[in-house]
C-alpha cells in the first residue's frame, strides 16, 4: 500500500509550551490509523495541523507527496470533536450546503440511507440528539466522498449502542477503501477499528505499530482479576504485587496455574475471578502512567 499522508518532524508551540514535539509518522492508503493519548498529549493539535486547520511551527505534512493544498481539501473528510452548525438550518439544507463546496459530492439521499438520517432530515440541526448529531457529522464528513477521513473522538459522549453503530459505519467506510485517521479515548474502539496506532504523550509519539504487535512487544503475561472484596489488599500487594484498578485487584502473571494454586492456598474465593489477555488499556497505562479517560 502506498503512503497517502506523511508527517515529518511536526512541531507546534503555544508560547513556551511545545504541544507537539517533532512528531513523525506515515499513514498507508486504505488503512485506519489511530492516534491515542491522554488529555493534553497533543493529539488534537496534531490532527488539526494534519487537517490544515492549524499551521505548524516546524516540520512538514505531505498528502500524496505534495504539501496540503486544493487536492487535499477536496479529498479530505473531517469530523471534529465538537462542531457547531448554523442555526435554523435543517439537516437536508446543511447537507446540500456542504455538497456545493466540493467539485464531486455524494448523493444526499444515499448518505441519508446509509446513516439513517431520513427520520430527521427536515429537522432543525439544533434539535438533534447526541447520536443523531454524530451520524449527521459523519455523513457531512462523507459528503465529498473523501479519500482520507479524519475522525476526532467520534464516539465520545455516545451511549454504547450508538457507539457500536458508529463503529459499524466506520468499518463500512474502511471496507470501501477510504483511509481513516482516528483519535479516541476508547481502547476497545482503537483495537476494533485501527490497523496501526500511535500513542502520544507530552507532544511525542512513544509507541507506534499494529495493536497486536505492540501488545506482543510489551507483554508476555496475562491479567488475573479478583474482585477487591475477595482478597485483602495487603495480601494482594505482598504476595502478588497486584495493582488496583476500579474495584479489582489485577495480578500480572506468566503462569496462570501457579497463580491460581497460590490463591487457593491462601483461601481466596475465586467465584468472581477473571483471566484476560493484556489489552491496549494496559499498554496505555504502562506507557503513559495515566488512565486514558482520566
Amino acid at each position: 500500500m502506498s503512503i497517502i499522508l506523511q508527517v515529518t518532524d511536526l512541531v507546534k508551540r503555544f508560547g513556551s509550551l511545545t504541544a507537539v514535539d517533532r512528531v513523525s509518522f506515515e499513514i498507508r492508503e486504505g488503512s485506519c490509523f489511530g492516534l491515542l493519548g491522554p488529555n493534553g498529549a497533543g493529539k488534537t493539535t496534531t490532527i488539526e495541523m494534519m487537517e490544515g486547520i492549524k499551521q505548524p511551527d516546524g516540520g512538514s505534512i505531505r498528502y500524496r507527496g505534495e504539501a496540503l493544498g486544493e487536492q487535499f481539501r477536496n479529498e479530505a473528510g473531517i469530523m471534529f470533536q465538537t462542531t457547531a452548525l448554523q442555526d435554523f438550518i435543517t439537516v437536508r439544507e446543511v447537507m446540500r450546503q456542504f455538497s456545493r463546496f466540493y467539485p464531486h459530492s455524494a448523493d444526499i439521499d444515499d448518505l441519508a440511507d446509509r446513516y439513517a438520517l431520513h427520520e430527521f432530515l427536515d429537522q432543525n440541526t439544533r434539535k438533534l440528539s447526541g447520536g443523531q448529531k454524530q451520524r449527521l457529522l459523519l455523513a457531512m464528513a462523507q459528503i465529498n466522498q473523501p479519500k482520507i477521513l479524519f475522525l476526532d473522538e467520534p464516539t465520545t459522549g455516545l451511549d454504547p449502542q450508538s457507539r457500536r453503530n458508529l463503529w459499524n459505519q466506520v468499518q463500512q467506510i474502511k471496507e470501501q477503501g477510504a483511509t481513516i485517521l482516528l483519535t479516541t479515548h476508547y481502547m476497545e474502539e482503537a483495537y476494533e477499528l485501527c490497523d496501526e496506532i500511535a500513542i502520544m504523550d507530552h507532544g511525542r509519539i512513544i509507541a507506534h505499530d499494529a495493536p497486536d504487535a505492540l501488545l506482543a512487544a510489551h507483554f508476555d503475561d496475562v491479567v488475573v482479576q479478583i474482585h477487591a472484596a475477595d482478597i485483602p489488599r495487603d495480601i494482594a500487594e505482598r504476595e502478588f504485587q497486584a495493582v488496583y484498578r476500579n474495584d479489582s485487584a489485577h495480578i500480572l502473571t506468566g503462569d496462570v496455574n501457579k497463580t491460581i494454586e497460590h490463591l487457593l492456598r491462601l483461601d481466596i474465593p475465586l467465584d468472581r475471578l477473571r483471566i484476560r489477555a493484556r489489552d491496549l488499556e494496559d499498554l496505555f497505562l504502562e506507557l503513559t502512567g495515566k488512565e486514558l479517560r482520566a
Partner: protein, 338 residues
C-alpha cells in the same frame, strides 16, 4: 473563487436570518417604528400652522404688535433680514417680516405665505404706515427632506456593522467557521457570501423604509433613483466591509459590541445625519470626511434635495468605492477562521 460555494453560503445565511424570528422581527419592526416616529414628528399637528421670521428692534408699532399677537402663528426672531432670506426661498419660514422697515418678503409659490400675507395686510389696515412687499422664489426644503437621507444612511450603518459583525463573531465563537475552514471554502468566498447576503437584506429593508416614509411624509426626491440606488449599494458594501474588518479576528461578542459602538456612535453624530456641521471646528469637519456615513448622507442629500447627477456625486462614490476595496482586502488578509 467559486460562485457555487458563495451561493451555498449565501442561501444558508439567508435561511438562518429568515427563520430567526427575533432577528427578523427586529429588522422589520425597527424600520416600521422609524417610519411612524418620523410620521408623527413631522406631521403638522400643532396649532401653530404658520412660521414667520420677525426682525424687530425695540418696541413694535401698534400694527406690527397686532400682527405678532395673531394666534396660530409661530414667530421666529431674527437679527437681520438679508441673512435669512434663503429661509423664505426654501420655505423654512412662510414670511419674513422686518417690523422696523415695514417691509416683508414672501415666496409667491408658498400657499402658507399667501395666507399669512393676508393677515399681515389686515393688521396694517388701520395704520398710516405703508407696507412694502418683496417677492423671493425657491423650492421648499423642509428639515424632514434634509434629515431623511441621513436616517436611511444611519439605518444602513447599524444594519451593516452589527448585522455582519455579530454574526461572524458568533460563528467564530461557536466553531461554525472552524467547520467551514475544513472545506475548500476560502476566506474571500466566505466574506463575499456574507457581503451579498447582508447587502440584499439591507437594500430590501431600506427600500421598505424609503417607500413607507414617502407614503406617509411625501419627502423630496429630485434626482435619479438609479443614482440613489448606486449610493446606497456602495454605502452598504462599504459599511459591511467595515463590519468585516471589525469581526475579522474577534471571538468575543462583548468585545465586538464595544468596537462596533466605537465605530457607529461617532458616525451617528459627526456625519451630519441630524444636524449640519456648518460652523463646526474645521478639524471636526475634516474628521467627518473620513467617515463613510458622511459620504453616503451627503451624496444622498445632493441627489434627493438638489437633483445632482452622478458626476456631481462622483467624489463621494469614489471615496466609498476605493475605501470598500481597501477594507475588503484588509478584512480578507486579517481574517481568522478560529
Amino acid at each position: 473563487m467559486t460562485w457555487n460555494r458563495i451561493y451555498a453560503l449565501f442561501v444558508a445565511r439567508n435561511l438562518e436570518f429568515m427563520r430567526d424570528r427575533s432577528a427578523l422581527a427586529w429588522n422589520v419592526v425597527l424600520p416600521v417604528l422609524i417610519i411612524f416616529v418620523f410620521a408623527y414628528a413631522f406631521t403638522e399637528d400643532n396649532p401653530e400652522k404658520f412660521k414667520v421670521g420677525l426682525v424687530a428692534d425695540g418696541a413694535l408699532q401698534d400694527a406690527a404688535a397686532q400682527f405678532r399677537d395673531t394666534r396660530y402663528i409661530k414667530f421666529i426672531e431674527f437679527d437681520e433680514a438679508q441673512a435669512n432670506l434663503h429661509k423664505v426661498e426654501r420655505h423654512q419660514v412662510d414670511l419674513l417680516f422686518d417690523a422696523n422697515g415695514d417691509r416683508y418678503w414672501i415666496n409667491r409659490t408658498s400657499p402658507n405665505g399667501y395666507i399669512v400675507e393676508k393677515l399681515l395686510i389686515a393688521a396694517y389696515a388701520d395704520s398710516s404706515a405703508t407696507l412694502h412687499k418683496i417677492l423671493v422664489e425657491g423650492d421648499e426644503v423642509r428639515y424632514l427632506d434634509w434629515v431623511i437621507p441621513g436616517v436611511i444612511g444611519m439605518n444602513i450603518m447599524f444594519g451593516a456593522l452589527f448585522g455582519i459583525g455579530y454574526v461572524i463573531v458568533r460563528y467564530r465563537k461557536f466553531g461554525v467557521l472552524k467547520r467551514l475552514s475544513a472545506t475548500p471554502v476560502t476566506a474571500m468566498e466566505f466574506l463575499s457570501a456574507q457581503i451579498l447576503s447582508r447587502l440584499w437584506l439591507l437594500l430590501v429593508v431600506n427600500l421598505v423604509i424609503f417607500i413607507g416614509m414617502d407614503l406617509f411624509l411625501d419627502f423630496r426626491m429630485h434626482g435619479s433613483y438609479f443614482d440613489l440606488l448606486l449610493v446606497f449599494v456602495l454605502g452598504c458594501v462599504n459599511l459591511i466591509c467595515c463590519g468585516l474588518v471589525v469581526a475579522a479576528r474577534i471571538s468575543s461578542e462583548e468585545v465586538a459590541n464595544g468596537v462596533l459602538n466605537l465605530f457607529s456612535w461617532p458616525m451617528m453624530f459627526l456625519s451630519g445625519v441630524w444636524f449640519s456641521l456648518e460652523g463646526a471646528h474645521p478639524l471636526m469637519q475634516k474628521f467627518a470626511l473620513l467617515l463613510p456615513l458622511t459620504h453616503i448622507t451627503e451624496a444622498a442629500r445632493e441627489i434627493m434635495i438638489d437633483g445632482v447627477g452622478i458626476i456631481g456625486i462622483a467624489d463621494h462614490l469614489l471615496v466609498l468605492g476605493i475605501s470598500s476595496v481597501i477594507l475588503l482586502w484588509i478584512g480578507a488578509r486579517i481574517f481568522r477562521w478560529e
